[in-house]
């Protein structure tokens, strides 16, 4: 519909080095592609161009590159990958702001499925571990929820914009493919649900889920997560808040071992 955009294509080209791996078990290699330059192009629009003409600079016809993407406006969380060695969302990586050749690699903290796609199941499993939901009684009409102050809303809103892209795990030195550290995203979600007026009734079980191996105290405080978060979520603050809650609960456990069943207790918000 925008004829102006289409005519902006020139003879300039963009060079890409892209990681290719057919199978998680097989070794990978780089393929090099040249793509016609277009104003406003981003990494995804170039990958689409390669789909329409999957030929390397050596003139070899190859399978189109496999990558994950959906919304292309940085809200679905699909297209996180390493671009020139830094994890970021491919859709908002504008070509004009990148040095060439542009190197695309899959995130390293998740198992590769193929090429640039990885398996991020551990992130969704972590959301189960921290019980990331408000346990409502049912979907029948029970009237309005509790009132909330605009200030609380503004804090919770930012936390709830997490797109589960995996950037924070990718940048974290504590996360490896072998360990089960829940990572900053899930810790921050636990904080979100513990702030919710209903969610806070179950705050203790979320805090408890962050105790022990793989929990919040595995954080090495490198603070890389907050630097790479595309949604600028205050992840370090969330980790600090949940760390404090875990410490408080640990102390409480020591001094009040004989108290009522822990799973149903109502902890601090």
């Amino acid at each position: 519909m925008d004829t102006a955009q289409a005519s902006a294509v020139t003879t300039k080209t963009i060079t890409f080095r892209i990681w290719r791996q057919d199978d998680p078990a097989k070794p990978g290699h780089f393929d090099e592609f040249k793509v016609p330059y277009a104003k406003g192009a981003n990494v995804i629009s170039c990958l689409m161009e390669i789909q329409r003409n999957p030929v390397t600079v050596e003139g070899k016809r190859v399978a189109p590159v496999i990558w994950d993407a959906a919304c292309l406006e940085e809200v679905c969380g699909s297209c996180a990958m390493n671009i020139n060695g830094r994890v970021r969302m491919a859709c908002s990586a504008l070509i004009d702001k990148l040095e060439q050749p542009i190197t695309l690699e899959p995130m390293s903290k998740f198992p590769v499925v193929r090429d640039l796609t990885v398996n991020r199941d551990r992130m969704f499993d972590a959301l189960k571990r921290i019980k990331g939901w408000v346990p409502i009684d049912g979907t029948h009409n029970l009237g309005p929820g509790q009132r909330q102050s605009p200030v609380d809303q503004s804090v919770m809103y930012v936390l709830s914009t997490c797109i589960t892209c995996g950037s924070c795990l990718e940048a974290c030195p504590q996360v490896t493919q072998e360990n089960d550290f829940v990572g900053a995203a899930a810790i921050s979600q636990a904080r979100l649900f513990n702030m919710n007026p209903t969610g806070k009734m179950n705050s203790e079980e979320r805090v408890r889920s962050l105790m022990g191996p793989g929990g919040v105290q595995d954080c090495g405080k490198a603070q890389n997560c907050v630097k790479v978060c595309p949604k600028e979520i205050p992840l370090v603050t969330s980790i600090a808040v949940m760390n404090r809650e875990v410490t408080k609960l640990t102390i409480k456990d020591i001094f009040f071992q004989d108290e009522a069943p822990k799973a149903h207790g109502s902890g601090p918000g």
């Binding site: 959301l127 189960k128 939901w133 909330q148």
Partner: protein, 625 residues
């Protein structure tokens, strides 16, 4: 007690997840099939909000006014019983979402805040910043995760639905799907299947839709006998940013919060927008529509912007683009209410919209049409009868549709912030309908002879094996681009019959060339080109339905605009005062206030028309000036 009945929900957006929650809550087992992890579904892109006449602003709003705005907004092509049910359920739905933890914006008193949106004069839209769809999807995703942890829901993410499994009577008893990672093809027996698979944006190449929205499932269901209704009604959103890979939506909430649309009064004015004084700016929507101003319904705003650029040549620098200006609104207000869209503009265009007016142009956004579904009216309330197995049912017994994939709620034009609502409402009544259907059947799908499943599985295994060997010269992604270019050029804002005929010829040509596709990838892990080649055919089918339906509807109504068949302008400001015009309107309405229904045939869609019962509201001229 008998073992829990098993159902399949296809699609993990708002409609699919709400259907899932309703079934799981009632104790059933649900398999959710989704192309992507459900949290990444396209509902996440909705920005502005969700409508519900909660009336907290002292404006006297009421669900009945919401019904009227919706039916009038859709120029009386929407299914009235379902619209009434939806609008009356809306306040309860917003409260439910609030209880689930959606971080809706609040008033100083701590109540839910509401903003203005198009096609209404009331503050009726609840919102969470400008990422309301994301927040709503997450809330439902979290509830489904809870059921998943309890073992009631099994998610099959990166699975693509391929088609139905039917018994000898034609009842849908399950589905065939392919694992997009391992390429395994298997069947999923189900007492009922719901397609909550979203819209067909990618049929138009670039749109505001996610790239997963190819419409493939609806296209395939249509080929298998489900009727497809109102395909010609395609919403082109007035305000998007054109891009190489997609058209990025700039929410209607930008105008809801006071954003103004304008172009320089002087044609070809090359001054920077900030240098152009107020008196030399043409606020064409405010001038022409003094009552609704920038918040006229989307089809109206889109046509005005399109005409200003294409017919008057008044677009910025003579190109396709007008200003969407929020620079008069304080930055903290913008950040509190529409930060999400401000950031999208900043990131993808590079300018700060708080300081420089945005440049926008209409972009394909939504399909009002979709799979034909039924409803059973409760005679007392004239809303869908609770638990009726008819609600949301397609013309294939046992197959249901919900969300953008169904045709019912929006008629000829959808009002902003009604889509999140229709997704959730259709899931709320679709889930119970599926359960009732299962109860009404003598034989459980699980007890059906294996031969039905075997045959369906074999069909798809053979089809994929054949496609994997396709080694012709056509690139499937290239063919898709040609389809998108044709559809965008001829089937969006302005439509002419000669061009629509050419579009249909073009699609037939593309179908022919599809037979000469090179599948590009012979791998057996995550072979996306293979699944795309299959999807592409279904996209052609939907494209043909859309173009044919548009060709045959010789009138202008809502988003479907044909200059050659439009009514003249009435002589009075209030058209009901112009008897001559009213008789023209009545004649037109008599002939065309009907649902377009497409049924599949190999030679092309067969179209017939269905009368629309109007028990809720009598049609009247749709007029916003």
């Amino acid at each position: 007690m008998a073992p829990a009945a098993r159902f399949t929900v296809v699609g993990g957006g708002l409609a699919g997840l709400m259907t899932t929650i309703k079934l799981a809550e009632a104790g059933h087992q649900v398999d959710v099939l989704s192309l992507v992890p459900v949290k990444r579904s396209h509902s996440v892109c909705a920005q502005g909000g969700i409508n519900g006449a909660v009336n907290t602003k002292g404006e006297g709003d009421h669900p009945d006014i919401h019904v009227k705005d919706t039916l009038r907004g859709g120029d009386f092509l929407a299914e009235q019983v379902s619209v009434k049910g939806m609008c009356h359920a809306a306040p309860g739905i917003i409260y439910l979402l609030d209880r689930m933890g959606v971080t809706f914006n609040r008033t100083p008193e701590g109540l839910l805040d509401f903003r203005r949106f198009g096609g209404t004069l009331h503050h009726r839209t609840a919102f969470a910043g400008a990422t309301t769809g994301q927040q709503l999807l997450y809330a439902l995703d979290e509830q489904v995760r809870r059921y998943e942890a309890e073992g009631k829901v099994t998610k099959y993410e990166y699975w693509e639905w391929l088609g139905t499994v039917k018994d000898d009577s034609g009842r849908c008893i399950g589905s065939v799907a392919v694992d997009l990672r391992t390429m395994e093809i298997r069947t999923f027996p189900a007492e009922a299947v719901c397609l909550a698979t979203g819209g067909p944006g990618i049929v138009f190449g670039r749109s505001t839709n996610s790239i997963i929205n190819t419409g493939t499932a609806a296209g395939r269901a249509y080929m298998e006998g489900a009727h497809y209704a109102n395909g010609e009604f395609i919403q082109v959103h007035p305000t998007s940013i054109p891009g190489e890979d997609k058209l990025r939506l700039m929410s209607e909430s930008v105008r809801g919060e006071g954003g103004r649309v304008w172009v320089p009064r002087k044609k070809g004015d090359t001054r920077a927008p900030q240098q152009i004084p107020e008196a030399e700016r043409w606020y064409f929507l405010e001038e022409k529509y003094p009552k609704y101003k920038n918040l006229v319904p989307r089809d109206v705003a889109t046509r005005e912007i399109f005409m200003v650029c294409r017919e008057l040549g008044m677009g910025i620098n003579g190109r396709d683009g007008v200003y969407l200006d929020v620079t008069h609104i304080p930055a903290p207000v913008l950040d509190a209410k529409i930060k999400g869209v401000m950031e999208i503009y900043e990131k993808f265009v590079g300018d700060d919209p708080r300081k420089v007016p945005m440049v926008i142009f209409p972009g394909m956004h939504y399909s009002m049409g979709g799979l034909y579904v039924n409803f059973e009216a409760d005679p007392k309330t004239l809303t869908p009868a609770e638990g009726s197995p008819k609600n949301q049912s397609t013309t294939i017994p046992g197959l249901y549709a919900a969300g953008e994939a169904d045709y019912a709620f929006h008629g000829a034009n959808r009002l902003g912030a009604n889509s999140l609502l229709s997704c959730i409402y259709s899931g709320m009544i679709g889930g119970p309908a599926m359960a009732s259907f299962a109860k009404s059947q003598g034989t459980s799908a699980a007890a059906m002879p294996e031969k039905h499943f075997q045959a369906a599985r074999q069909y798809w295994q053979d089809r994929f094996a054949t496609m994997l060997k396709m080694s012709g010269t056509e690139n499937p992604y290239g063919l898709a681009k040609e389809l998108g270019d044709t559809m965008t050029e001829n089937c969006t804002v302005v439509r002419y019959n000669d061009r629509l005929k050419k579009t249909i010829e073009k699609i037939r040509e593309l179908k022919d060339r599809w037979k000469n596709v090179n599948v590009l990838d012979t791998g057996n892990v995550a072979n996306r080109a293979l699944s795309y080649t299959n999807q592409l055919w279904n996209m052609f089918e939907l494209g043909e339905v859309i173009a044919t339906s548009a060709l045959l509807r010789d009138e202008s109504r809502g988003a479907h605009y044909k200059p050659d068949f439009s009514l003249p302008e009435p002589k009075t400001k209030d058209p009901t005062q112009d008897p001559e015009w009213m008789s023209l309107w009545r004649a037109r309405h008599e002939k065309w206030a009907k649902t377009t229904v497409a049924t599949y045939s190999e030679a092309g869609p067969k179209i017939h028309y269905e009368d629309i019962p109007t028990p809720v509201l009598d049609p009247e001229p749709r007029w916003y000036a």
